[in-house]
Symmetry: C2
Subunit: 228 residues, 2 copies
DNA sequence: CGGGCACTTGATAGTAATCAAGTCCGGTGG
DNA sequence: CCACCGGACTTGATTACTATCAAGTGCCCG
């Protein structure tokens, strides 16, 4: 069954139909939620949210890629990379009122937003949304715990491979000998995602290229061989 | 107003009355919940939960201290240290069925448990419990994100001081020149909490003692001076 | 009070950060 | 379409730390 999109200016499938948070709702209920949604577009490089600034909405990514980071003394730590159908702002819905992170558009980005107040009303009206939200936040918690595990346990080389494997399904295309990944981050950002420096990532990638694990193609692509 | 405890063998205030998850409920409702609670006692050093084993309950710490860790190739990473009135098992309520961590009693520990099935029923009956749970899980998520921030940004010395400051209110007693902390962890565990080695922690603490930031008292106590 | 185990201390090596030049990609303009 | 320019990337040399390996020391418990 096809449903038209009531979300203003939206050329895609309904936002609400694409995210797991609302998956348990009927189409009629989703239609009702559509009216609460405000859509906004950001350009590549634009700052969507600044740390320590008030934030009173939940954001669903309709299109594009964003990075979520923290900064401290000219150092950057990238925590998450989110893309279509993922959401952010969850920590501000139920706990804090100010963002504790920055959100930056890495590409042209289209966001659907629902205000905190509206979302809370929804949770009361449809308790199943609250349970779905619990699931989603729990998954993010588990993912964040795994992040700690990785930085604590795994050697750097392994972590780079894991990062590339994480990118593969999202930013890669299947090629003859492996997956051709269109990197969403530059070298410095790759480093900041793993807690390293630009130079170290550069050297490690060069080494892995020499060893035949990957093939570096220009500055923006990496071929990840099947065997890796 | 005083309430007697119906939780079998409990010499304390009602478990349910002490944790924020149930704080919005009336005393009558709490009484009802009491009947769902099973209490169990663990000895120092006992393994409460093993990673990869099924886990179908939420656990509230009534008494004692537990560490929650992950292991990989004889390495240990301690993620959380929980004490009275805190809870664990939340990731298994709404997402996974097997624990992804170990839980070990560091002291004699008394736990109140509510089965996953019972807890889910409670959430449906009292939606406010679900919202409280969202808050609590969100707080744990925020704390976990800060953990990453710390390991990524802060120099080791600062992280040690922060750890001691985190211990101070829970395991410390106010003394003349500062806070006397009864360490809940041995040196190796302190190291595993910060992602370092036994020797490094030992050296750093010795240095900080020499610098007058702290005073090491035997193996189990540290005096954290006010100025730190 | 004595023994064992946790802790400390020392020496060395390995690894990534830092500092410093070069090189090359990729976008722009002719 | 090609040449050029600038910024991103690479590579090299050195330094700084922490892990590792190894040997004492001393606290704490029985």
């Amino acid at each position: 069954m096809e449903w038209s999109c009531k979300c203003h200016g939206c050329e895609h499938q309904m936002c609400t139909n694409r995210v797991p948070i609302f998956s348990s709702l009927s189409h009629e209920e989703m239609d009702a939620i559509q009216s609460l949604i405000i859509q906004r577009t950001y350009n590549k490089g634009e700052v969507i949210i600044k740390a320590n600034e008030p934030m009173h909405a939940i954001f669903i990514l309709n299109e594009g890629v964003v990075k979520i980071n923290k900064r401290f003394q000219d150092k950057e730590q990238i925590l998450y990379l989110l893309t279509e159908n993922e959401f952010f702002g969850e920590t501000n819905l139920f706990a804090q009122t100010n963002s504790n992170m920055n959100v930056i558009a890495l590409t042209k980005t289209v966001l659907c937003t629902i205000s905190k107040a509206d979302f809370e009303k929804l949770v009361y009206k449809y308790p199943s949304i609250g349970l779905k939200m619990l699931e989603e936040i729990t998954h993010r918690l588990i993912k964040t715990q795994q992040l700690i595990e990785n930085t604590g346990f795994k050697p750097i080389d392994d972590r780079i491979v894991e990062m590339l494997k994480e990118f593969a399904p999202k930013y890669g295309k299947s090629a003859e000998k492996g997956t051709l990944i269109e990197l969403p981050l530059n070298r410095e950002e790759l480093a900041n995602y793993l807690g390293l420096t630009r130079e170290t990532i550069s050297r490690k990638l060069a080494k892995m290229d020499k060893e035949g694990l990957i093939k570096i193609i220009g500055h923006k692509k990496i071929l990840l061989y099947h065997s890796s």
